[in-house]
Symmetry: C2
Subunit: 430 residues, 2 copies
């Protein structure tokens, strides 16, 4: 099995180091932006290509590994060329697959090629193999994941180190966990790509990136984390794919999870996925979701597996059987909610807000007004009003927030996040 590797950054270097310690596969060609620079891996005796398309055409090569990243451009050219040449293809590129997965799946099947992409979601955590194979006999009910290590690191710092968002983000950047421009992570798009891919596996649909409702963690304040903790919750950025009757719901949003739950125990850059199938019950997988070594582990596992002649459809189901499913609207999803209103400290505000909630048919399970000490520290006339609701559809919460904002009762924007619960969804129209 002769391998070509496109991209020699952190992950590419990690992969070469791993493969050079094993003797089962041979890297025969590499391609990267700059030929002569200091690397963590040796490329001695390996053919060098400046152009990835030329490399992917190399007749000596059986399998092309793409580790460049990016949802189109060179990465897409690399995939197309490799597959058109009948070569197997392994990638860690969730952006590419989330955007062009349907095309790549079709092309791979037409050419009889295999695509390995374990590394694209949660790196070393074998969630793709689990869903393409071991759990395949199940009807998937729900997948819930912490699939972005950067966000989870930041939220963990708020929770355990009492840092504010900006400090935690800076720390993540210094440690190499966050990019200079962190928005793809912190705004939830990276998680959206990953849940679109897991949903394709779970529900035998083409990946539907544009149908994922996305809210990132940029509004999560240290206050929110502490208020949540006081009532026994942690805040996590969850990516959720769920089947509700004949529709699917795809969403990424900050979510309150119970402190004694598996998800609350996922701290720092770890990733975790909770799979729920009709026969398997809940299966929980957790581990390193990023980093050179963990990603190389997943890529190399795919390579060895393909070397054995394994052939699995890209999304677990033959391309012709992938069916787009209708989407369940986010506003109809029912859950308990955490609401945080910053209001002026004056008579009647609480009553006014409570009245709006009641008019929107939102039932409150608990109210907390920010304690004096915290207010004094801030020396502000602004008070935090926290409300915890019973199960409520998103549409009612949106209606209430709109009315409250319109009534000019707030200082700044209200925050409304769902609380994770295990109750099945009931369609609102029923």
């Amino acid at each position: 099995m002769r391998i070509a590797v496109a991209g020699l950054g952190t992950v590419g270097g990690g992969l070469l180091n791993l493969l050079q310690q094993r003797d089962s596969v041979q890297v025969v060609a590499v391609c990267a932006r700059t030929r002569h620079k200091k690397r963590t891996c040796s490329i001695e005796g390996i053919a060098w290509y400046d152009d990835v398309v030329t490399m992917a055409r190399d007749a000596e090569v059986d399998l092309v590994v793409e580790l460049m990243g990016g949802e189109g451009g060179v990465a897409l050219d690399c995939a197309r060329t490799a597959l058109q040449q009948g070569k197997n293809f392994v990638t860690a590129n969730k952006a590419l697959l989330a955007r062009h997965g349907a095309e790549i799946s079709r092309l791979a099947e037409a050419k009889g090629c295999v695509i390995g992409w374990e590394a694209a979601v949660a790196a070393a955590v074998p969630v793709v193999a689990a869903m393409r194979q071991s759990l395949l006999a199940n009807n998937t009910q729900r997948i819930t994941g912490i699939v972005n290590g950067t966000c989870n690191y930041i939220l963990s710092r708020l929770e355990t180190q009492n840092e504010d968002f900006a400090t935690a983000l800076r720390g993540a950047q210094e440690k190499g966990y966050a990019e200079a421009d962190p928005r793809a992570d912190t705004q939830g798009f990276d998680s959206a790509q990953k849940i679109a891919l897991l949903a394709a596996l779970a529900f035998a649909t083409p990946p539907a990136l544009d149908e994922v409702s996305v809210e990132g963690i940029e509004q999560v304040s240290l206050d929110d984390v502490n208020f949540a903790k006081r009532r026994g919750f942690a805040i996590r950025l969850l990516a959720i794919a769920e089947r509700i009757e004949d529709k699917i719901s795809l969403r990424v949003h900050p979510t309150l999870v119970r402190l004694d739950s598996d998800f609350a125990a996922v701290c720092g850059v770890r990733n975790a996925i909770l799979y729920q199938g009709d026969f398997s019950g809940q299966v929980f997988l957790a581990g390193q979701g990023a980093g050179a070594a963990a990603t190389a582990s997943a890529v190399a596992g795919d390579i060895l597996d393909i070397a054995r002649g394994r052939s699995t459809p890209l999304f677990g189901t033959p391309d012709a059987k992938l069916n787009p499913l209708p989407f369940f609207p986010l506003q109809d999803i029912v859950s308990p909610w955490y609401l945080h209103f910053r209001v002026q400290d004056k008579v009647g505000v609480v009553a006014a807000i409570a009245t709006v909630l009641s008019e929107c048919n939102i039932s409150i399970s608990a109210i907390l007004q920010d304690d004096t000490r915290a207010r004094q520290q801030r020396a502000m006339s602004c008070v935090s009003l926290l409300m915890w609701t019973h199960r409520t559809p998103g549409s009612a919460v949106a209606r209430a927030l709109h009315a409250i904002e319109k009534a000019k009762l707030l200082q700044g924007r209200a925050v409304a996040w769902r609380i994770l619960d295990d109750e099945p969804q009931v369609e609102q129209q029923a």
Copy 2:
């Protein structure tokens, strides 16, 4: 793909129910002890066999599923016949594979057959697929597992319900979690079979059931669970396979784990495996380790995967490359310890025990003498003396216990269990 199913107990019934809800595979033959009895599944239109060997010879059958259990006898006959006929073979039978895995691996390879056995370890938890494929590129450092739901249920009841061992066991039997004769579970043999199989995968060795050091949970008292909890630990039956230099250590024993660890959070009949590889880092997998539906999920996953033409060696490595490795002696394994001595409440006993420990070079990190209230409840002159040690080899602890017992300082047997730590083993001879 035409399937024959041998064994129609809980799991066989669950599998038939699952497969009858899917249309991708067809069950054409079944075999069980009693033909006419009330079942949870329908066998209408399926050929019936009284004899499993005759069924395994049926030319109509492509794949034989063995769900009878037992380490030899009919299950072994079934495996041998199916493979000799060139049929693929799927089993949930850890006893069969732990005892006869090497023979079955050889036979399967000679005949070009595939063996699916995801269900044999931790049922719905996809640990076999993870280790045979996704994590295969790693050098495995350690696998640590809670792989027996019965024991974990009992220990959880002690911990959370304050039940004693006998009550918890009776409860497990009433719920169907424990057999009428529970010893295969409670004495650790079931866990030993499973860790022998995972070690074969991890270290490319034939399964070495007889080399697993086994201690069950029958000595674990409610007192021990409470003493451990007071110092921030839970007690779990862990199965461990570890590479130490060029040797492997295989062991099953009650172990103290920190209350904030992943393992302490595994309660009731759940199973969990923590895999540690040189590139992957720690990967944690947890879920339903038993039961009709969860086991059927794993068996059906294997069936679908084989239907796709997948072919993986039984233990992830071609039979000719399976190498027996020497074993690292349990007494050389170093760890902190929990020691529980029941002693007479008289002057000088603590000093005498401490002196013996000191002579054996055992360094104590904490001492606790049972508080008065607990003693009064028992109205006994016997006192519990708890000691927590720094890292100590098993040989030193054994020597100390022997000397203490010989000195007639104890009422009943001493208890000594290891505390899980992440320090690497250092060979004592170094």
